[in-house]
Amino acid sequence: MTSPLLEILDLSVHFHTPEGIVCAVDRVNIALNSGETIGLVGESGCGKSVTSLAVLGLISSPPGRIAGGSILFDGRNLLALEGDRLRRIRGREISMIFQEPMTSLNPVLPIGRQVAEPLMVHKGFTKKEALELAAEWLDQVKIPAVRRRLNDYPHQLSGGMRQRVMIAMAMVCGPKLLIADEPTTALDVTIQAQILSLMVGLKEKSGMALLLITHDLGVVAQMVSRVMVMYAGQIVEAGGVSDLFDRPFHPYTQGLLRSMPRLGDPGKKRKRLNEIAGSVPLLTERFIGCRFADRCPYTFDLCRLQAPELTDVREGQVARCWLIFQPEKRSLNA
């Protein structure tokens, strides 16, 4: 078996704040094969974005600090790369799409220039060649009347169009890995669907790997083959997308799925959606037991005494929960 394209090993990221050290990411492991799509799911503030920024070396230091672990990409440890060598990977081998298409584009540069920039930076294209290829890419992401649009400024485009521009920018150098950080969160639902199908199409055409970060389980279900659920800086459950949706093990994953509205659930029409009580704990705390213990419906003594490790639930599915060892506790409190 070949080694994965991206391998995040035991990554920990700390932020030094006046309130204390925040462990935003705590010993996270992710392996992503070329051509594969995995989803990184969790609510706000659980460390998803920090993980992705760490891959590109974009954690600003201070206050951030990579406290441990390594990130192997194509056999190179990204954390050990410096300046220029890291920059040659950014945008060329690994690209990133951000959440807010409104603010991720430079307001004073025409979109053609912005899509062309990675080509000029990485491939030494002249401005003219780069603009030519940029126009082709803008066409690929289905921007209508591309020639006329090349000189448009971001404020002249709608949110969906801007996200298309961002995608073109990310794709233009033909990356091996695309990290999409909540690419559809800021868009309305119909546009979301268009953008997702566009991304799926491009991914299939180019054969790149995709790391999709989102809190939207619906998006995950459509797009990815494997899902990792993060909670408070840790991965709490991971597995194939159908296993995870059909048989979620971790109470947090179960809570997430229950909090999602489902179509075609007759008889339950008037039922309220379930929420997970409480909110993500402050990460400045020192955790002794399980980080989810305060919100978990099944918490028992052991949960507060010792932190669980990721353990196999079944073939290809792992969870970080003591219920694996004491399944009877689930029925007691439920």
């Binding site: 951000f98 430079n106 920039e117 990675p118």
Partner: protein, 274 residues
């Protein structure tokens, strides 16, 4: 363009400044009389058909001298703003990018310069280096460095916080490229506005220094210098002071209005409900 001329400040400022620039332009090729030609017979004449703005104590034509003085003022404005902008932008960008020590150094240097009374220091510089137009420009220009450094830093810091900078980094753009292609274009309009205002201030400052005899040296025509010379003849030949004074007021007013108009149109936060 329509956006700019729809603004009253801009239109008036543009018209006033255009008169100064055109007058200066014409004076390079033609003036009614040689600006430095003396004539004992025509000393201290009031405005007349042949000398619309009168003559000075040496019989030199005031109109010609006011026109030539415009060139002088424009050069002073351009050079001083160029000195302030070029060094100020570099310092401000460095401060906003590196932060910490560099930021501290740049800001304290600015405080230091701001701490000195500008006119006094300009007098100090020109009297040490010797009075001349170049030294006067240098003295004024040095005082513009902190003005532009502070402004650049303040605006650039907010630009650096914005997401498209992270996006550019994620795209592999070098820090210099980010500064040049992403930060600088986003801070140009406040710098341009400040530049016009400082341009007007420079004209006043040079006039002040020349009035004190520390700027442009005789026989070259400068509005400030002309005021200085007019002082002695104030009661006998008031036109000698009135016209250069008017020229200064005209130019400064025009450029300030231009700056205000630019601010109104370029700064989205200043757009008023019309």
């Amino acid at each position: 363009m329509k956006r700019f001329f729809g603004n009253l400040n801009f239109s008036v400022g543009f018209a006033l400044s255009a008169v100064v620039i055109i007058a200066a332009g014409i004076s390079l090729i033609w003036t009614p009389f040689d600006a430095n030609k003396m004539s004992a017979v025509e000393r201290l004449q009031g405005p007349s058909w042949s000398h619309p703005l009168g003559t000075d104590q040496y019989g030199r034509d005031t109109l010609s001298r006011v026109m030539t003085g415009a060139v002088n003022s424009i050069i002073v404005g351009l050079v001083t703003v160029a000195i302030g902008l070029s060094i100020g932008i570099v310092m401000g960008l460095a401060a906003s990018y590196y932060g910490r020590f560099v930021d501290e150094a740049v800001m304290r240097f600015s405080d230091l310069l701001f701490g000195f009374p500008a006119v006094l220091t300009a007098i100090l510089i020109t009297s040490t280096l010797g009075p001349s137009m170049i030294n006067a420009m240098l003295a004024i220009g040095i005082f513009y460095i902190p003005v532009f450094a502070r402004l650049t830093r303040a605006v650039a810091i907010t630009v650096y916080e914005r997401e498209f900078i992270t996006a550019a980094r994620a795209g592999g753009v070098s820090e210099l490229g980010i500064m040049w292609r992403h930060v600088l274009p986003n801070i140009l309009s406040p710098l341009l506005i400040q530049g016009t205002i400082q341009f007007a201030v420079a004209i006043l400052a040079e006039a002040g220094l020349s009035y004190l005899g520390l700027g442009t040296q005789p026989p070259a025509a400068s509005w400030g210098r002309m005021l200085n010379e007019a002082q002695t003849f104030m009661s006998r030949a008031p036109w000698m002071a009135v016209f250069p004074g008017l020229a200064i007021a005209w130019a400064v007013l025009g450029i300030n209005l231009l700056g205000d108009g630019l601010r109104d149109t370029l700064d989205p936060k200043m757009v008023r409900a019309r």
